[in-house]
């Protein structure tokens, strides 16, 4: 019988104490139970000049069965808390989807049957709420998601008991970044530089070209929207291992948004920015101006959609995009209404991106 994880025991204790408070409210004090949860979302996300990242504001919502609309939410949170407690008790781990399935149910009588969760989004929100109420990040609950981040380069990880050398030498493949970060440890980092790209296709191209060996770099991607493990990995490499981090994403508002997830955080996870955000990361590309400076041919450019334009207008107002360089870039985009993917450099030749564009940008930024 293995000894029980102390962190897990803490979480279980916290959940039990919440349950106790509620039952005391109901039985002893005879008052409607409730708990206050910090509000999550754009209207409770504030920019912190100090930390140079998005942090959660001080708005809270009162969740309790006093209002008809909150009765389901209140029950959902409690059901989720209990499910997490069970998960920890059984020393299992689960994805957020797994927890969604574990708690699926229907509510109401035959005539008026409804789903307990309208969608997984509801259950994800409940997990977030438990994180906030217990003040414990979800990784501590053993709640994870499907890994999708990838890493390649001179770095050694220990996952569980296994040592993994990500510098595979063969240039053939990358290592998935495990999401159960409680079981993950960085053993050694020999690289000089960490480069984050938006998509795995671009990462594969760069790796294949021998970029890792030439510049002694670690390549990382979150495959689009990065998961928490990938963000944490980037942060650790930057802050604990003191490696400079550069980010390349597509030259469109969406890509810029993804780059900023690493650098300043996101609205939906603003409560956990301290653990996820790397403020010192440098977003180097792809700039809108690069489309024209590197002569991306017109066929490889894409027309901006209405959504893109709206997003860009929004971004122009954000406090973290107020320096002259970014304003100029966004204005250029709004003027030309053209966007471009990193893959467009392949039009100049398959090695152009890794051998010309990236080194140029890195030199400009003084990273190499």
């Amino acid at each position: 019988m293995p000894t029980r994880d102390k962190g897990h025991q803490d979480v279980i204790r916290k959940i039990k104490s919440i349950m106790k408070t509620i039952s005391d409210d109901v039985i002893l004090k005879q008052i409607m139970p409730s708990f206050e949860v910090p509000k999550i979302g754009y209207d409770n996300t504030v920019w912190s000049d100090d930390k140079r990242m998005l942090t959660i504001g001080n708005k809270t919502v009162l969740i309790g069965p006093h209002s008809a609309k909150k009765i389901p939410t209140f029950s959902q949170y409690l059901v989720m808390a209990n499910a997490i407690r069970r998960l920890l008790d059984e020393e299992m781990e689960s994805t957020i989807r797994g927890l969604y399935y574990a708690t699926l149910s229907t509510v109401g009588d035959e005539k008026n049957k409804q789903k307990f969760w309208n969608s997984q989004e509801d259950s994800d929100n409940a997990i977030k709420a438990i994180e906030l109420i217990t003040n414990v990040p979800r990784e501590e609950f053993s709640v994870t998601s499907k890994p999708k981040g990838m890493i390649s380069g001179p770095i050694t990880l220990r996952v569980g008991g296994d040592l993994i050398d990500c510098n595979l030498g063969s240039r053939a493949t990358s290592q998935l970044i495990p999401t159960n970060i409680r079981d993950l440890e960085i053993v050694d980092v020999k690289a000089d530089l960490v480069m984050v790209v938006e998509k795995d296709t671009v990462l594969n191209n760069i790796r294949k070209s021998g970029f890792i060996q030439k510049y002694n770099a670690i390549l990382l991607t979150g495959s689009g929207e990065p998961d928490r493990a990938t963000r944490m990995m980037v942060k650790t490499l930057n802050e604990k291992w003191k490696k400079p981090v550069v980010i390349f994403a597509d030259a469109d508002p969406w890509g810029l948004g993804i780059a900023l997830r690493y650098k300043i955080g996101s609205e939906s996870l603003s409560y956990d920015s301290d653990r996820l955000v790397t403020p010192d990361a440098k977003v180097l590309g792809m700039m809108f101006s690069d489309i024209y400076e590197y002569n991306i041919p017109e066929v490889a450019r894409l027309a901006a959609t209405e959504e893109d334009v709206n997003r860009a207008h929004d971004m122009k107002k954000k406090p973290w995009l107020q320096d002259r360089k970014w304003k100029k870039e966004l204005n250029l985009f709004l003027e030309r209404k053209e966007k471009c993917e990193l893959d467009a450099f392949f039009k100049h030749g398959f090695k152009y991106l890794a051998e010309t564009y990236l080194p140029n940008k890195l030199r400009e930024a003084g990273v190499i």
Binding site: I22, V26, V79, N82
Partner: protein, 654 residues
């Protein structure tokens, strides 16, 4: 009546027969074809049989129309005499292979004198109703249509029993001579006492065999027609007997509407025909034009009549000594003269009392499908009484198309009423088809429901259900809206007389009527909505508390029963507080509330809870008993156990 008959008898229908390429104009060869045109006179009966659609007797609808005509005639003949109607309607299959149906209708109305009866039943355009007053039937076509169709399609005679005042009961076997519009009397005899069909002092019964098909849709329309008729005629006992069973719509009030009086035409409506007819009526009395005007038109004072004669630049002679050219000047002057609005004595609106009686006890026909093992599924007919929790009534009198028109509107809300429905009536006749194009539909769309003090969002939230898919919030409310238009000239949209057009100011008056009602019920509806909201909330508690209790009890050691009952109590207490903050029901007279509103909160289901509650419930029962003694209005109530303490607080306030 006979005068009218004379006028109308001279009406001939001319049919033009064109042979082959008859009168082809523009023939450039300039050959004049001397084709003969044959002029025929067609009997009224033949005309109507050939053009049966004019009277609504088309294929599928024959039986529906027959039911309509018989029921309307029966109600009319009772109301003329101001007797509470007692009507027995039967519709049964006689010979399914040949689509033969036997339909009969018996009423306790005035009957028809035996000497007039054959003509009144069989000859088209013969009616006692050609007068200026509101009646259901107007044309003298309906019953004749049944007689003619029965003659045309079957070899069965039309059987009639009639007992009018001062006469014994007579029995007739009749058929129509369609070619001449004359009745054929096969048998006429005084009914022997032992064989009497009519029990009372007078009455009328007719039985006909018709060839027709009846689809389920039309069958439902017949049921709708009868139940809706009963809504606006709650003073009538209607019994309907069919192959699917027999239903009775009981009498819910003994108040009858004030019968319509015959009135003189209004001068604004005068034309050459009405004027000449008026003069003709006075010809024997040697009256002057002035006298004729005064005696034949309403709102025509002696002074006014003189003024008109002067304005028309006519010297005073005997009325029949004017020629057409002179008379048309009188008509023209009348068109330009202002008169008082026409009076409404000839109209017979339903009235608040009667409509309310109809609305508070609305009958719905229910068809129960029974699946017997041996036979095909059989439907069995029954009725259910719907009791709303509140009703309201409003009316307007206005002039549309120069005719006085009364708009009546009623609302019944909540209680047994589960969904929205619009009821339309014209001169007390339910309109069942073409609802989409009816002015009432527009009116309901255009009057915002926030006049009731509730928002669309609230309604959709509280009454969300699986069946209703509509953008209009009103369709979600458990509410029946009734519109009754009465006038001697209803602005029907089509010849089928199934929908009313937005003629003149009609729509405006209807809208103001409905807005008025919305305002009247607003306090109540808000209250009802709040009750509904709390009901839904309690339901939510009941559905979610088990989840909460399970989550807690799995995590920490706790007595499940104790937690459940404590939580249930807490939820009830919470709702109770919400309820007690509700405004008291307004004591407005116009809003007739169906006795004590049952707040109908669902009973406790969990054992633990009922244990805790049993005390409160019994005390409520007690309160209700005392209340029943005090309140006269109380009726047998099928109220479920209602929200206990809400009532207690109410009782305390009393």
């Amino acid at each position: 009546m006979l005068d009218n008959l004379h006028c109308l008898k001279n009406k001939a229908t001319i049919e033009v027969i064109n042979r082959s390429n008859g009168t082809k104009a523009g023939n450039h060869e300039n050959i004049i074809h001397r084709n003969k045109i044959h002029y025929h006179r067609k009997a009224e009966s033949e005309f109507f049989v050939d053009n049966s659609a004019l009277a609504g007797f088309t294929g599928e609808r024959i039986l529906y129309m027959a039911v309509r005509e018989l029921l309307e005639n029966a109600l009319d003949s009772c109301e003329i005499n101001h007797v509470l109607p007692d009507i027995d309607l039967r519709l049964r299959v006689l010979d399914p292979e040949n689509d033969l149906w036997i339909i009969s209708c018996k009423d306790n109305g005035i009957g028809i004198p035996s000497d007039k009866l054959p003509v009144a039943v069989c000859s088209f355009l013969t009616s006692g109703k050609y007068v200026e007053k509101q009646q259901r039937g107007l044309f003298g076509v309906g019953l004749k249509m049944i007689a003619a169709f029965s003659t045309k399609d079957t070899d069965h005679p039309l059987r009639v029993w009639s007992k009018s005042i001062d006469e014994p009961e007579y029995y007739f076997d009749l058929r129509t001579d369609i070619g001449t519009n004359k009745p054929i009397v096969l048998e006429k005899r005084v009914v022997k006492d032992a064989e009497r069909e009519i029990e009372g002092e007078f009455g009328f019964k007719v039985e006909a065999v018709l060839r027709a098909r009846l689809s389920p849709v039309t069958r439902n329309k017949i049921y709708d027609y009868i139940s809706q008729t009963s809504v606006v005629n709650p003073y009538a006992v209607l019994t309907f007997d069919s192959d699917e069973g027999s239903v009775t719509f009981e009498r819910r009030t003994s108040v009858m509407p004030v019968p319509a009086k015959e009135v003189l035409p209004h001068p604004a409506d005068m034309d050459l025909k009405t004027l000449r007819k008026a003069i003709l009526n006075h010809v024997s009395q040697k009256t002057t034009l002035h006298g004729v005007l005064c005696n034949s038109f309403q709102k025509m004072s002696g002074e006014k009549a003189r003024e008109i004669v002067v304005k028309a630049a006519l010297d005073l002679r005997l009325a029949d000594k004017y020629n057409e050219h002179e008379l048309i000047r009188v008509v023209n002057v009348c068109k330009h003269t202002k008169f008082q609005s026409p009076n409404t004595d000839h109209l017979s609106p339903i009235g608040e009392k009667i409509l309310t009686a109809g609305m508070t006890s609305e009958y719905a026909v229910i068809m129960n499908k029974e699946n017997n093992q041996n036979t095909a599924p059989q439907t069995h007919l029954s009725v259910r009484l719907l009791k709303p929790s509140l009703t309201a009534y409003s009316s307007r009198t206005c002039v549309i198309n120069n005719r006085p028109t009364v708009v009546e509107c009623g609302i019944a809300y909540g209680g047994d009423i589960g969904s929205f429905k619009l009821f339309r009536f014209a001169n007390k006749i339910p309109l069942l088809y073409d609802e989409g194009s009816d002015v009432a539909k527009e009116v309901i769309s255009e009057v915002e429901i926030n006049k009731m003090g509730i928002s669309k969002k609230e309604v959709k939230e509280q009454f969300r259900n699986a069946e209703t898919r509509s953008d209009r919030a009103i369709d979600y409310l458990p509410m029946h809206i009734f519109f009754h238009i009465c006038s001697t000239k209803i602005p029907y949209k089509t010849a089928g007389k199934e929908s009313i057009a937005a003629e003149g100011d009609l729509k405006r008056y209807m809208k103001s009527c409905l807005s008025d009602l919305y305002r009247k019920v607003s306090a109540q509806i808000r209250r009802e909505l709040k009750i509904k909201e709390n009901e839904n909330k309690l339901k939510l508690y009941r559905h979610y508390i088990p989840f909460i209790v399970d989550a807690i009890s799995e995590s920490i050691k706790i007595d499940v029963k104790k937690l459940t009952s404590a939580f249930n109590l807490l939820a009830e207490k919470y709702i109770r507080n919400e309820m007690s903050s509700l405004p008291e029901r307004p004591s407005e007279n116009n809003v007739t509330s169906a006795e004590d509103i049952s707040t109908a909160l669902p009973t406790a289901e969990t054992h633990e809870r009922s244990k805790v509650n049993s005390k409160t419930i019994s005390s409520v029962r007690h309160t209700r008993k005392t209340k029943a003694l005090n309140t006269q209005k109380i009726r047998q109530s099928d109220i479920q156990v209602t929200l206990d303490n809400f009532k207690q607080t109410k009782a305390k306030k009393r």
